[in-house]
Symmetry: C2
Subunit: 243 residues, 2 copies
């Protein structure tokens, strides 16, 4: 039953739902995002989404082949929103840092969707545009093709992976999250110096550092390494390994 979905361009007979709603792929994606935001990732099911839209669940299969298809559409919408807010300046390091922080912030703004979509390749318009833009930044900076792709891959995955990780953290029930903060203060803050010398010596820093995201620090380390790599390439000493 794969001809159930009609490509958006060919749609014309917009018959309203029994409850008076006129469906569209856009409306479905927006509603799904709202649903995820308001009631958590588990709230996203075909049946609930149908109910929220005022339509029979099976109607959605006129717009998306299956749930996965819908997830990809949601992911692409998120990519689009992030990309539209980005203003590259020409300074490749600053631009990548800015984009990375925006991707991370975008994920945190839609934690549940981020967790569900971070690992998907959509192949849709917004994603393609993002790939093209980032590759452009790297190649203009001077990275040759293969190296640009490797850096691109690591950069994007790092932003997505940390976005999903930190999102999953904020998606925890409030009680569980506070319990985790407590663990750092009490458990790790009180270990004896003779049994756990390194933890005891840095306990003060652990308590303060571990409660915030490590992504900004990881991103800066990443950019440092990329700059180092570019310098090596320019010098002609192309050994990519760190030692």
């Amino acid at each position: 039953m794969s001809d159930r979905v009609v490509p958006p361009a060919a749609r014309q007979r917009r018959r309203p739902t029994r409850q008076g709603v006129v469906l569209s792929a856009e409306l479905i994606v927006d509603t799904a995002l709202r649903l995820i935001e308001e009631h958590g990732a588990d709230a996203l099911s075909v049946r609930r989404l149908g109910r929220a839209l005022g339509a029979d669940p099976s109607s959605l299969y006129r717009y998306f082949r299956h749930t996965d298809d819908l997830m990809l559409a949601i992911a692409d919408e998120l990519i689009g929103r992030t990309l539209r807010s980005w203003r590259p300046t020409g300074d490749w390091i600053a631009d990548l840092r800015d984009l990375g922080l925006r991707m991370h912030a975008g994920a945190l703004a839609h934690p549940r969707a981020a967790v569900l979509s971070a690992h998907r390749v959509t192949g849709r318009a917004h994603e393609i545009q993002a790939v093209e833009s980032i590759l452009g930044v790297l190649r203009r900076a001077g990275f040759p093709g293969q190296e640009a792709v490797r850096i691109y891959h690591a950069f994007v995955d790092q932003a997505l992976a940390f976005g999903a990780l930190d999102s999953a953290g904020t998606a925890l029930p409030r009680a569980a999250r506070e319990a985790e903060a407590e663990v750092w203060r009490t458990t790790y803050g009180r270990l004896a110096a003779d049994s756990h010398p390194h933890i005891a010596a840095t306990a003060r820093h652990l308590v303060t550092t571990m409660r915030t995201s490590s992504y900004p620090a990881a991103l800066d380390l990443f950019l440092t390494a990329a700059r180092t790599r570019l310098a090596e390439l320019r010098a002609g000493t192309g050994h990519p390994r760190p030692h």
Copy 2:
């Protein structure tokens, strides 16, 4: 119904299953891990697990309150296994790379558990041991306290985040995973050079690079940056920003 679970120590009447199996929390965790490895991540359901054990699904609720509880027990077991397999040598870069790769591999071997447990702080024995070990490696390498904590945080989160990201990828249904590989080959491999110059110029590399995990590359970049940072600290020029 939370008193359904009896703490392991209090168990005494080990009544065998109708099919002759004597249940235990350990046996359940081991069977779950085996199930995940043999039949993929989505093969793990309470009902399937019951079937694999030769017991009624509801019996499992005598040992774990709910599925999440079971997942945490599995995760804890995984941390232990990873750490036990690690043999630090004294070369801090090699040791961190080895541990990072082991953490990543451990996550990939048990995708479902990795995804669910990556963002949790347990405060349990194995975790504490890991923190102490890694901090020790960094401080012996010469990083001062605060800097060691920052590097530690970024290192661990990066390993966990990539582990979860890549795990989520392998946890996809086979069809969806193959569809993603196709997207890189067809969609990205065929974009016109005038509309998408950078993608077109690197299409060959994209197709080959994007289907593998970027974690090894990201890890090497991370270690490169850490080495750079250490050199800066030794030289006394402590500006942590990449430009």
